[in-house]
Symmetry: C2
Subunit: 272 residues, 2 copies
């Protein structure tokens, strides 16, 4: 089945996932059919269901798409909505959540691991919403607008601050940096998506959650982006929101320990 | 066709409407098949398409659902997504927006027009996001969470402030009040949905957009909620977010002019 894509059925007209973005998703790396960081994905989904009051499906239902998985690397996208029903925004009295999924082949970007990536600040600021902070929910228009700020293929990701100027995340990855010898990552209690790789790294290395403005990146000895599908990318260059260079880092031979931990968690090689 | 519901097809698995809430909607009152405030709905949709860079369908395509309309009152829900495609959040190079709709019979709540409604403050605060402010987009989780704060049927709507404490809107209606003899409504340049009834009223009466905290409601001589489907509801009672009464208004025989304008715009009687 390597190299083939498959997905479940589509969505009824009245699904609350499309009407309101009333749901959650997970994007999971599969290696020969085995989900990587699966416990962390299940835990985030459970936390999202609790915060949104969506009944959590049984683990067996969540694992059903794995039966369709093939050999090699694939990405499983799991989507869970509150289903249909309710009057307007009001919750349905007896919700029947709807689970859908797709499986696609995946090839990691080894060049990004090795040579690092070029990123830029986004002009868009993330709205502050503690009731949704950390969740991988389906209200992602801010991410869509931020990603639309550049089209040059050299720029891998954008950097996002919240409306009060605190650094939060990159457009589809979490941010990490080394500063005065300490590993830090932004707190995500007001907005942003708490990545499963970030969660797993916090359990393995000393990685402090901090509140900092965007200037901390320029002060950092090293910066990385990471998520549970791509692994960890060192940042080689940072631009401002107009595309003007702010800083470059020499990433060769430096700061391998964090990348080693991340890649051990995902089964990726450190030196491909 | 009175009393029957109909809707278009559902959504493919990969529609960006469900993946990211990447789209817009309009909820339109039809009277004997004639859309009320249609120009205002088209204008808001066009503004949303411009802000989100979604190609606006031709007016003929947007009016196609009207061919399925029947006699009497119905509500048309029009949904427009960016369609499928793109890599992750990135916009598809050649977007094919997807238009879907449903038609349902509608009976206005005459008792709300006549006797007024009971509302309460919500604990949830709306995140500030000028890039989406005013739009009727599909990222509505905040509205869902706010509406879930109460379940008593006596309470018609919740009142929402932003994270900086400014009054914004009600959960599915706009807010209006009379203060020192002047009609006011919150500015909606940071968050909230700019209703088409609100837009139409601003063109007909002296209605000032202001920045105020929630306490302004208790100081008001009269308060109303309005949208383009329900018309204008006088507020008879306001509670705090714990359901404790803050204020009552005697709505009988008072402040009819604003309601008269609103109901003239929608073809509703003032004294049903």
């Amino acid at each position: 089945m390597r190299g083939t894509s498959s997905h479940s059925a589509g969505w009824p007209f009245d699904d609350r996932g499309v009407a309101y973005g009333d749901g959650l998703f997970e994007t999971v790396l599969l290696r020969d059919g085995q989900p990587q960081l699966w416990e962390a994905h299940l835990a985030r989904l459970a936390r999202g269901c609790e915060m949104l009051a969506i009944p959590l499906p049984a683990q067996a239902a969540l694992e059903q798409p794995l039966a369709a998985a093939g050999q090699g690397l694939q990405v499983l996208k799991l989507m869970l909505t509150r289903g249909s029903g309710g009057r307007g925004y009001q919750l349905p009295a007896d919700p029947e959540p709807r689970l859908r999924w797709c499986l696609v082949p995946f090839v990691p970007k080894e060049a990004c691991w090795m040579r690092g990536v070029h990123i830029r600040h986004c002009a868009l600021r993330l709205g502050i919403q503690p009731a949704l902070a950390g969740l991988k929910h389906l209200n992602r228009l801010e991410s869509v607008l931020a990603r639309a700020e550049w089209s040059t293929p050299e720029v891998a990701e954008g950097v996002l601050c919240d409306t009060e100027g605190r650094l939060v995340e990159a457009t589809s990855m979490n941010l990490f940096w080394l500063r005065h010898g300490h590993l830090e990552t932004p707190r995500l209690d007001r907005c942003g998506v708490a990545g499963t790789l970030r969660d797993a790294l916090r359990q393995r290395v000393s990685l402090q959650e901090v509140e900092r403005g965007p200037e901390v990146l320029e002060e950092a000895e090293a910066v990385w982006l990471g998520n549970s599908v791509q692994g960890l990318w060192p940042v080689a260059r940072l631009d401002d929101a107009q595309g003007r260079e702010l800083k470059r880092w020499n990433i060769r031979h430096r700061h391998r320990p964090l990348q080693a931990e991340a890649h051990a968690l995902l089964g990726y090689p450190l030196f491909p």
